[in-house]
Symmetry: C2
DNA sequence: TAAGATTGACGGATCAATCTTG
DNA sequence: CAAGATTGATCCGTCAATCTTA
């Protein structure tokens, strides 16, 4: 379809089609792989991982729900549902916010800390091996440039 | 976390971290955007789109379920569930396979055909505008190379 | 009324179990 | 038993509605 020709639409040329199909295939397989590894190695999802990473980086291992949603680029309801599941599994807790009684803090538990410390090195190792070990510095730079260009274009859509 | 330094793990260097974070952000926003546009413009998901595209390209608009799952790189149960939903919405039908009575054909309906013909040009337009219009031919080539390298590495994991 | 957050309903994805035909 | 396919349970993500406090 990306290369058809029926109407006046401007389709993709051959190189662009090749790039687009490779990208789609790669991104699907890569995220599936990272998720699977994280799940089998550390019993968490990529989403759990991201939450734990951000909490670890935050002062006192605590963050407001909306702040977390903002940095992760998640809808607030997604954050709420996800945090509820993580709380059930003992990875985080909630604490009430005394200054603003509408708000809530998300707090990393001991167990959550243990899990992320175990998971992070293995995860980075996989990312390095699968993505970066065989890319030249020039390709790495280009990947950044391309991603940023696309992000820019998305902003102005 | 991708840049921490606690154990003997080899972490990512600054350029790699920058590239990885940009990529993750880009891929999340891009797929969200494409899905949202397809949903609001044509009332289908990206997954529906892919199914319809492959059926359109197939002889007689018909394909075996497992064949479809293979080209889309989906689990067979995902295919089954997804096709059931698409059938409920009238986009496809199932026909029994006379040669091998275990199997089933998935067939594009008139409505499915109408929908994909309406959706495709708009979708390609968005992809071109958001991804390709501002990339140099060199960057397009590099995107293909990077994607293929990562796919290769995934094969041998 | 708006901001911070949770809830419920529903479509989507995965896994294991199942059913039917080869 | 294996291959083609469906089903049910369960988890995830989105949307709209809701609840509470500012």
């Amino acid at each position: 379809v990306y290369g058809g020709d029926v109407t006046g639409t401007r389709w993709l040329d051959d190189d662009q089609q090749r790039a687009w199909r490779s990208y789609l295939r790669m991104q699907g397989k890569l995220s599936a792989h990272l998720n699977r590894r994280l799940q089998t190695d550390s019993d968490i999802s990529l989403a759990d991982f991201d939450v734990l990473v951000h909490l670890t980086d935050a002062e006192g291992g605590r963050m407001r729900v909306l702040e977390l949603a903002r940095v992760l680029d998640w809808e607030k309801s997604r954050a709420s549902h996800h945090l509820a599941r993580m709380q059930r599994r003992g990875l985080i807790t909630r604490e009430e916010c005394t200054e603003d009684k509408r708000g809530a803090f998300v707090v990393l538990t001991r167990e959550g800390q243990r899990v992320i410390e175990e998971a992070a090195p293995q995860h980075v190792e996989v990312v390095r091996r699968v993505v970066f070990d065989d890319l030249t510095p020039e390709q790495v730079e280009m990947l950044t440039a391309i991603s940023r260009q696309v992000l820019d274009n998305l902003e102005s859509e």
